[in-house]
């Protein structure tokens, strides 16, 4: 199995598609064509690879977590997206899409953000390429990720607070799509994960594939288990892409309060059909997670497909496990990861030694981002 080709009609099995207003269909089609072309164009790939190397700090290292692995009785390698410029894997996708936007003659980037990492990455790429950026962010997320709001503003982006619905990522995404409809000729909607209408799930996975490709060349042998946290699912998709054709088990870890795969049902939201947290009538549920970047009721359609096939498995961890995991990793390895990334760590901590992750397992874990943005949340938690 590989995850290479453009999905036919934008479908991953039963999932995917392009459920958007007619006003956006031509833009989606244009984008799909442009990406298809650019991805086959050596000049474009070379320019992106160059930026990833000299600007974003790729390849990111693979760190053997000797102390934590030793305590858990497993071999544990960490793929260090926390060291990428702006502090998470989000930059990989953003640089790719921003180059594409420029190729399409767009002068403005529109993005949704939850934790603010995608917003910061988008604002960064906009500054680098001389584009303008408008970032939609739930007012609740603005409260808990203030640091990132300052960063976006310093980079020259306009941050628009979204006060509708749950005031988190879901609502920011609605608002970003509304802004896009109103400015299609000048704007590129720079979606931050593997959701949304075709070509986004495919395109973003391809831009994130670099994580898996690098990791595959860095691990001493094919791991038994490959694990990553899942919000929309882009860092997991990029990681899985490097291992889907191996014997490695693929594990995505969701927030217990945003577990689209575990607690959701098939549905259509934000442009594609996938697994969605919703009620019996189809109203979208509000997710709830300490990690703003996972506080989302949906998941990318390819994950729904991999889950349906049984090729990938999805697990959930609680906020309390996540907080414990972030501290444990910090003290054992000197790495303070993002709350999002700590979901993957938390599952490893829980599973190690059990039938789900037997002693002696070789585990590759993608640390999708760094934790600086979460210090306020964590220190407030500690005060309680």
């Amino acid at each position: 199995m590989t995850l290479m080709a453009e999905p036919a009609a934008g479908r991953f099995g039963d999932f995917g598609g392009r459920y958007v207003p007619e006003s956006l269909v031509p833009a989606c089609a244009e984008l799909a064509g442009a990406f298809r072309e650019a991805w086959a164009d050596k000049t474009f790939r070379d320019e992106l690879d160059h930026l990833l190397a000299v600007y974003a700090g790729r390849p990111t290292p693979l760190t053997p977590a000797l102390r934590l692995g030793g305590e858990l009785g497993i071999d544990l390698w960490l793929k260090r997206e926390d060291l990428a410029h702006t502090g998470s894997h989000k930059i990989n996708n953003v640089l790719g899409q921003a180059l594409l936007a420029r190729r399409l003659g767009r002068t403005r980037l529109i993005a949704e953000t939850g934790a603010g990492q995608h917003g910061v990455a988008t604002a960064t790429a906009a500054a680098l390429l001389g584009l303008s950026a408008t970032i939609f962010m739930g007012s609740r997320d603005i409260e808990r990720q203030r640091l990132n709001v300052f960063r976006m503003e310093m980079l020259g982006a306009t941050v628009v607070p979204v006060t509708s619905g749950s005031r988190t990522l879901k609502d920011a995404t609605n608002e970003a799509m509304r802004a896009w409809v109103a400015d299609v000729p000048h704007s590129h909607f720079l979606l931050g994960s593997v959701g949304g209408p075709h070509p986004y799930p495919w395109m973003v996975r391809e831009f994130q594939r670099v994580i898996g490709t690098e990791a595959r060349s860095q691990v001493p042998s094919v791991p038994d288990v490959v694990v990553a946290c899942v919000g929309g699912g882009s860092n997991a998709a990029g990681t899985f892409a490097g291992f889907v054709d191996t014997t490695a088990r693929l594990i995505g870890v969701e927030a217990a309060g945003g577990a689209a795969m575990t607690a959701g049902a098939p549905g259509v939201v934000h442009g594609s059909r996938s697994m969605v947290l919703q009620d019996a009538e189809g109203q979208i549920a509000e997710a709830s997670s300490i990690a703003a970047g996972l506080d989302y009721p949906g998941i990318g359609p390819e994950h729904a497909h991999l889950g349906a096939l049984g090729r990938a498995e999805y697990r959930t961890v609680t906020d309390a496990e996540v907080v414990a995991a972030i501290h444990r990793l910090a003290r054992a390895e000197g790495i303070i990861c993002a709350l999002e990334s700590a979901h993957a760590v938390a599952w490893v901590l829980r599973a190690a030694g059990s039938a789900d992750l037997p002693a002696g397992s070789r585990v590759l874990l993608t640390l999708s981002g760094r934790g600086d943005k979460d210090m306020v949340t964590l220190s407030e938690g500690a005060d309680k």
Partner: protein
């Protein structure tokens, strides 16, 4: 569904927005509506501006459900066609066949799903046809000719011409793109073509009707309802639109 010949007026109301929301339906009919659009509120109305978002939120907060709204409709007698407007997830969650049969059971004969473009519409289209419900497709100013032809061919009841690139919501002026689009759509279909999105005043309705077969008016009416207008109040508004359309 839409009378051929004259200029059609299709006012909109969000189902369940008030306890007596069906009184607005009756008021619309009384004021001369040719058909009435009933919004089935969705938690994430991605194509709607602030007014319809607020209307949807208020209805949902009041506990509005599809079944409840349909039951309310069964209790009134309306002489003009009723058209449901909702988002794809509500349709798929129930399953297109079940969903469309439910609509038909409540006397609804049309369905608009703004996030279901023609390429994704096959299953719902078939289910709607089976249930005797017209799946009305939308066309946008940016829709290229070949797609427009396909939309014209696959739409039922009428074609909904989205007046501008943007969300629903009142506008000071009617975008010039509205009449250009209506003209293009009329060139590829014999179905009536109605202009919607941002038609806010009788004057705008009259302008729209110069190139189209009628208008859908939503946010302008819902803004009034949100601000406390009674069924009687909006009857006056709809009557003014009716008068402007002739």
């Amino acid at each position: 569904m839409i009378p051929y010949g004259g200029k059609a007026l299709v006012p909109y109301v969000t189902g369940g927005i008030t306890a007596d929301w069906t009184s607005y339906v009756l008021a619309y009919e009384a004021a001369g509506a040719d058909a009435i659009e009933i919004g089935l509120p969705f938690s994430d109305p991605m194509l709607d501006g602030v007014t319809i978002q607020q209307a949807s939120d208020r209805a949902l907060a009041r506990g509005a459900t599809v079944d409840g709204i349909l039951a309310d409709l069964s209790e009134i007698k309306v002489g003009v066609p009723l058209i449901a407007m909702t988002y794809a997830n509500l349709v798929f969650r129930a399953g297109p066949a079940v969903f469309c049969r439910r609509l038909a059971g409540a006397g609804i004969t049309g369905l608009i799903v703004p996030d279901l473009p023609v390429d994704e519409a096959a299953a719902v289209s078939a289910a709607a046809a089976d249930a005797g419900v017209a799946l009305i497709l939308l066309a946008a100013p940016v829709t290229p000719d070949d797609r427009l032809a396909e939309i014209g061919a696959r739409s039922r009841g009428f074609v909904y011409a989205v007046s501008l690139m943007g969300t629903t919501g009142e506008r000071d002026t009617l975008d010039a793109s509205a009449s250009r689009l209506a003209t293009r759509v009329k060139a590829v279909t014999d179905l009536p073509v109605l202009i919607g999105f941002g038609v806010s005043t009788p004057a705008q309705a009259a302008t729209a009707a110069e190139s189209a077969d009628g208008v859908v008016v939503a946010s302008a009416l819902m803004r009034r309802v949100l601000d406390g207008a009674t069924p009687d109040d909006v009857r006056t508004d709809v009557a003014a639109l009716r008068a402007a359309l002739g």
